[in-house]
Structure formats: C-alpha cells, structure tokens
Amino acid sequence: MTRDQVLTLVREHLAEELEVEIGRIDEGTRFKEDLDADSLDLYELVMELEDNYGVTVSEEQATHIKTVGDAVGFVLEHAPA
C-alpha cells in the first residue's frame, strides 16, 4: 500500500460523503474547518479506514486526526504488514 493509494481512498470517501469537489481535498485539508465535517462524518471515515486497511483507531487516537494527511499517515503507520 502506498501513500497515494490511501490518499486516494480518503479523498474519494470524503468527496462522496460530504458532497464536495475532490479537487478541494489534499493532504493539508482540515476536516472541520475546511470541509465542515462533524463527529459523525469522522466516525464514518475511521470505520472506512478500519474496514479497508485493518487498522484500529482508538477514541484517543481519533482526536489527533485533524487533517487528511493525519489520516493517511495514521494508516501507513498502523496498518498490519
């Protein structure tokens, strides 16, 4: 799995669920401030990552994921080999 693959999945998920242009989403995009995403949106993203990459995201860890880049980095760091 490459960084680009994970980034693509996150961007596609957010564009679909939040109804925003995919071009508006890059690694620096902040969920809350830039995409108006709320806690339910973030829970769904976390579940998408768990289902697709086998990672487990605790409540504590989730609070530190604030940008698209944070989410991608978390998956790359925690995904089972």
Partner: protein, 342 residues
C-alpha cells in the same frame, strides 16, 4: 426487498424488558402476518425453532443499556443489534428492529446502514397518537444540538415518511419554537424558518408552539433532539397523569362509577389508540436502510407492531422515496451549504 421473497425484518432478540417470552410472542405475531423475521438472539431461550416464517440466528452477545453505545457498537461486532444491522446492509433482511438500547440501535444502524447521500444527521421520529390525526414528531433524541440545515433536512425526512408510510397526502410541516412569528426562537430555528419558507417539494406550515403538538396543527413537527425528547416525555407523562386522574374521579362515588361504566367501551378504544405499543416505536430517518427502535417495555403486540412498521417502510420503499424528495427539494448537504453561503 431482495428478489421475490417476503419482506424480511432483522429483529434484535435481546432488549425486550419483559423477557424472551414476550419477544418470542411478538415475533410469532408478525410472522403470522406473512412477514419474514430473522431473529438475532439466544436460540434456546427464544424457542422459535421451526416456526414458519421465522429464522433464529443464534447470537450470544448483546449491548446493554448501561454501555457506551458508540464504543460498544464498534467493539462488539457480533452483538445482536450489530449483526442485525449488518444483515440489512448485506441485503438478507429489509429492515432492522430493536427494542434494546436506543443509543446502541441508533449507532448500529447509522454505522451499519450508513446515512443517505447528502444527509448530515439521521433523526429519530415518533408518531404522536393524537386521536384522529397522528402527528409525526422529530427529532426526539438523536441530535441534542442541531444546525439550521439539520432542521431543514428533518423537515424533508419527516414529510417523506409521512407521505410514503402514513399515506398523508401533501403533509404539512411545522417548526417547533416559542412563537408563530418567523423571528421567534434560537438563531438556528430562525434560519431554518427562512430556508424552509423558500424550499420546494414540501408544504411548510410555519412555526408551531408546544400546544399545537397535541392539537395536530401540522402533520409533521420538527425540532432538535433535546427539545423533542423533553416534549415527548412531557406529553407521555401528562397523558398518564390525566388518565389516572380520570380513573380516580370515575371511582369517586357511585354515580361517577355508573357513568364510568357507560364510557368504558369508548375509553378502552381511546386507551388503545394512545398506548405506545400501538405505533410500534420510533424510526430512525435519513439512513440507506430502515431502522425501528421499539419501546423497551413493549409487550408482544408492541414488538409485532414495530416489526410491522419496519416491514411497511420496506414495502413502500420509504428510503428511496425519501432520497427522491431530498433531491427534488434541494435539501442535500451540498445544496444547503450553497444556500447558506448565498
């Protein structure tokens, strides 16, 4: 519904406060109506093996009322309500019913079935048993805090359900607040009034006040989950207290008792209409599947009615019709965001 099979409901086999016997009886009543029921619960305790139309999927784990709902749903993938929600998501059932923890049912349904495209927050709706003209009331507890866009979406969700499931032609939608004038209420309510006033596809009746709820001034009444829950419990408590007072008065002297006997048949019918078991429970609107939250205290008839309500939602394609109304009215997330910016 998948293929030609009968409409099928995934029923959480835990959570009925009156025990497995009552849940079993409720499942049998629903199945006798021709509804397929897949029960996720303890096979031996339920005693439903071999009953026509019922399939028991042995499930040992469940989520209790005292557990953190979201955390438990994420952790307990094999619990009854999570399995039942998954059964709907995977197409083996058409709708979910649980009389267990409301929070766990909402979380399992929201995560398992997912929100309809463009829906920001699902809302919990109940039918207020106003004699002669039931009122659909939402949100009664899913969202303690809301934005104006959420209230607008609740209006569309409620109108779609009222039309599709309750067969109300062109249902009127009221916004619950503290005065009839458009400027009355909190900021988000005033903004929701503005947005609904120019929305197409629904019949916005303007603001309604608390006293208008039991008067059925609108077919659908929309509010935030905190206000809705307080109002619902207040109505239930008031109805119970008044009913008890009427009973006491009717027994207070021989003349009153005689009058009470004459009124009894009519009052029994009214009591049945007003009983929470009659409506089948609350429905979580705004998902890509159907989820009904039955009363924990339901009797067998209440559980059967919850299953019947879920089955009816599937039969009339309540989800598809809700999505269509949201699209027609421009009430999706992106459209409302653009409206707010404009």
């Amino acid at each position: 519904m998948a293929g030609d099979r009968a409409v099928t409901v995934a029923l959480d086999g835990y959570g009925a406060e009156q025990g497995f016997d009552v849940l079993e009886a409720g499942a049998r009543l629903a199945a006798a109506d021709g509804i397929g029921v897949r029960v996720f619960g303890p096979r031996r305790a339920l005693g439903l093996d071999g009953v026509a139309g019922i399939e028991v999927l042995d499930t040992a784990d469940h989520i209790g009322n005292d557990e953190d709902a979201v955390r438990a749903v994420r952790a307990k993938k094999e619990s009854s309500v999570v399995r039942a929600a998954r059964d709907v998501a995977e197409g083996d059932s058409d709708a979910l019913v649980s009389c267990g923890s409301t929070g766990a049912t909402m979380a399992a349904a929201t995560f398992g079935l997912r929100r309809l495209k463009g829906v920001q927050r699902p809302a919990l709706a109940v039918q207020l048993p106003v004699p002669g003209k039931p009122v659909l009331f939402l949100d009664v507890g899913a969202n303690v805090e809301v934005r104006a866009q959420h209230l607008v979406q609740f209006a569309f969700l409620g109108a779609a359900f009222s039309h599709a499931v309750l067969e109300v032609e062109n249902p009127s939608v009221g916004l619950l607040t503290v005065g009839e004038e458009s400027g009355k209420g909190r900021e988000e309510v005033v903004e929701a009034h503005r947005l609904l006033g120019k929305a197409s596809g629904i019949d916005f009746a303007g603001n309604v006040e608390g006293r208008d709820l039991p008067a059925a001034k609108a077919d659908v009444v929309v509010t935030d989950g905190f206000t809705g829950n307080v109002a619902l419990k207040l109505l239930e408590g008031t109805a119970k207290t008044v009913a008890a007072a009427v009973g006491d008065a009717a027994r207070s002297n021989p003349m009153a008792a005689a009058g009470g006997l004459l009124l009894k048949p009519a009052l029994d019918g009214l009591r049945r209409d007003l009983h929470p078991d009659t409506t089948g429970g609350a429905i979580l609107l705004g998902l890509r599947g159907i989820a009904v939250v039955g009363h924990g205290s339901s009797g067998a008839e209440g559980i059967a009615n919850a299953v019947r309500l879920a089955a009816r939602c599937a039969e009339v394609d309540a989800v598809g019709r809700t999505a269509a109304l949201l699209a027609e009215g421009g009430a999706g997330r992106a459209a409302l965001a653009a409206e707010g910016d404009g």
